[in-house]
Amino acid sequence: MSDAMTTLPGLVARVTRHPADEITADSPFTGLGRWGSLVAVRLLATVEQAYGVRLDLRHYLTIRTVGELAAEIDRRLETRATPAG
């Protein structure tokens, strides 16, 4: 399981009000509570603040499941950790 996946369900639960223990990597965002564009933007801000990453909005909007988002966060964290060159 990806690193971000251990903490991400808690953040998703906070924003969607969907119970954290029912959120898995396969959970589609569209099935979570009050999911919509405003909720998506709130989750983006929450994730960026929690992990200290900045996501590409175009790519973020194509992400369908919690697991895909966790993987994207991990990728960003790795890029950030690897020195350039």
Partner: protein, 629 residues
């Protein structure tokens, strides 16, 4: 805030939601302290149906919901929950209406708009730069850009001022920050300076509107954002959803708007009680001696001197200062009167309490002597013990714990939410002297055996006259500050009051009181409709400074005299219980007015059926001939 801290706060919110009877009196303070806009947004969304009395200590500060409309030129959904947390923390129950996006102009000007129908007490007008700056603006024609900016800003001001005048709502505009891409679009240094200038001219126009127009106020958001981390706009949020503000900007604005709501509802604090040792000066006067305390121009003494200057500035704007210190009176007097580096002197204080009694009992006694509610008080002390004691025993008092570096003390005391006022008036500069007289009066009262003997000894004279341009600002301020003797809980704003004063169908009167201790100035007012058959008192307010002296009966006497002289047969009067205006409830029934039918009907009586109302100990002296009312 860390993940755990965030979860803990939201868990407290969840606990409130799980049990409708549950309360969490510390949660309001926690929300006020929290600086994480994302967390506050989630909390605010969850708290939509929770009332302020469940998240605050002390009694509720207002029992009717405050109706607040948000009309924005961009997507401002994120502001609403942040506003809610700010208002709940202030003890206000907000009913918030978010107008459709980008319809600010229509909403303000159309009498059939959703905004008008909502009947807001407060209307927040939010604008982003694109509402002012044309999309195709040309950096080589800044004169042309300037003309458009000023025209658009003036149009907003005109619409907002007309809305305020038409509806009586208090309207808040704000200065508009210019996002970085717009600034960077101009590449020449001289041109960029010119863009900065015309942008600020535009904001100056908005600021001036908040100084000059009745019912219109302006928050200087651009200045507030200088202390806010990050950009004003996140381009992704803006391009995707026309969200023109980052969460940090939304929070900065929501805090300003919440402080404004406190000002409108008269919830700003009115008294600052200060400790002395390590609060007003460095060191302990009892140990270090009057010459050994730290004050002056060198750190850390300059921090204490600065706090004194800030307190003096508050005093000049109407905040009462008092000392409450565990000390012997002698050395304290010596420092207050004689220390060359003291900024504050004995006359700056309404009371100097230097003894060894517990501070909570001293403050409670002072509140009684000044006839002010404890919710008017703030208390600043460096001692965690004293802060805990006062906060625990007197939960209505706003406790400011001055811990840590003294360089931070002034900022803590000056928290803008604490002292929120709509405007200051001529009375404010004299307030300390007025309240010193009130303390004298209280002590005079304690020396008399019967209430009537005491009141007769006071030699009370009541002057009632039509409001004029000099007394109108004070009357409006008084109405917004008065909760106890307020017949309807309504604070008639400047615009409504001025319109009624100018109309032959209404009368707006001010009440002034003098007695042997001096003049109290404007302490009350009446808003009435003058009908041919019947005069109707829409509202009457009286400062708690003059309660329990029968002044309200003299005021009603004067109003009925005017109505009789104008040929009316009946007098009517509105009364709406607000939960706090118990002291006002008895006036009409005891004067012989009765509700004609049902609790919603006004009180009413035939003028010729009313007996004399003015008490024997009051001399009623109208200042103007009746036909000038």
């Amino acid at each position: 805030m860390t993940g755990t801290g965030a979860d803990a706060l939201l868990a407290r919110v969840d606990a409130l939601l799980a049990d409708p009877a549950a309360t969490d009196p510390g949660l309001g303070d926690e929300l006020a302290r929290c600086d994480d806009p994302l967390l506050l947004c989630e909390a605010g969304l969850l708290l939509a149906d929770v009332t302020a009395d469940r998240v605050r200590r002390g009694t509720p500060r207002r029992t009717t919901p405050l109706r607040i409309a948000v009309a924005a030129t961009f997507t401002a959904d994120g502001v609403e929950p942040l506003l809610r947390t700010g208002l709940l923390a202030a003890g206000l129950d907000p009913e918030i209406h978010l107008c459709p996006y980008d319809r600010l102009g229509d909403q303000l000007t159309d009498p059939a708009s959703e905004l008008t129908a909502f009947r807001p007490d407060i209307t927040l007008c939010l604008q982003d730069s694109t509402a002012l700056l044309p999309t195709d603006w040309d950096p080589t024609d800044l004169d042309g850009v300037r003309a458009i900016l000023l025209e658009r800003a003036a149009a907003t001001v005109d619409a907002a001022a007309a809305f305020a005048a038409r509806t009586g709502s208090a309207v808040l505009l704000h200065t508009v920050p210019l996002p970085r891409p717009d600034r960077d679009t101009v590449i020449g240094h001289r041109s960029r300076a010119a863009l900065g200038r015309i942008w600020r001219e535009t904001n100056t126009l908005l600021l001036r509107a908040g100084e000059e127009h009745d019912g219109l106020y302006t928050a200087d958001l651009e200045a507030v954002l200088a202390d806010t981390p990050g950009p004003v706009r996140d381009e992704r949020r803006y391009r995707y959803g026309r969200m023109a503000w980052t969460p940090h900007t939304e929070l900065a604005y929501a805090r300003e708007a919440s402080a404004f709501a406190r000002a409108v509802t008269g919830l700003g604090r009115k008294v600052l009680v200060l400790d002395l040792d390590n609060t007003l000066w460095g060191g302990v006067v009892g140990d270090d001696g009057p010459t050994g305390i730290e004050l002056g121009t060198l750190y850390p003494g300059d921090c204490y001197t600065d706090l004194q200057r800030r307190a003096l500035a508050l005093r000049r704007q109407g905040v009462l200062l008092a000392v409450c210190s565990k000390n012997d009176a002698g050395p304290v007097d010596e420092v207050l009167s004689g220390h060359p580096d003291m900024v504050l002197r004995p006359d700056d204080f309404v009371a100097v309490l230097a003894d060894w009694q517990p501070k909570d009992t001293r403050i409670a006694a002072l509140a009684e002597e000044l006839a002010l509610g404890l919710d008017a008080f703030a208390f600043a002390d460096d001692s965690a013990f004293e802060c805990g004691l006062v906060g625990g025993a007197l939960p209505q008092v706003d406790v400011v714990h001055l811990d840590g570096d003294p360089a931070g003390h002034s900022s803590k005391v000056l928290d803008p939410a604490r002292w929120a006022q709509l405007g200051t008036t001529a009375t404010d500069t004299e307030r300390t002297a007025l309240y010193r007289r009130r303390r004298d009066r209280h002590r005079f009262g304690a020396a008399h055996s019967s209430a009537e003997e005491y009141l007769t000894g006071l030699g009370i004279r009541v002057h009632i006259r039509p409001v004029d341009p000099f007394t109108l600002p004070r009357l409006v301020q008084l109405a917004s500050r008065t909760n106890q003797f307020n017949m309807t809980g309504t604070a008639h704003g400047e615009a409504v009051t001025r319109r009624m004063a100018d109309s032959p169908d209404h009368a707006v009167l001010t009440v002034e009181v003098t007695d042997r201790f001096g003049a109290e100035g404007v302490v009350g007012g009446v808003w009435a409709d003058r009908g041919p058959e019947s005069w109707r008192v829409r509202n009457m307010v009286l400062s708690c400074r003059v309660l329990s002296r029968g002044v309200e009966r003299a005021v009603l006497q004067h109003v009925t005299d005017l109505a009789r002289a104008a040929g009316a047969t009946f007098v009517e009067a509105d009364f709406t219980p607000t939960g706090r205006n118990g002291p006002a409830a008895r006036l009409y029934p005891e004067a012989g007015l009765a509700r004609a039918h049902g609790d919603d009907a006004p009180y009413r009586a035939r003028l010729d059926a009313l007996g004399p109302l003015t008490p024997d100990w009051i001399a009623l002296t109208p200042k103007e001939a009746l036909d000038h009312v």
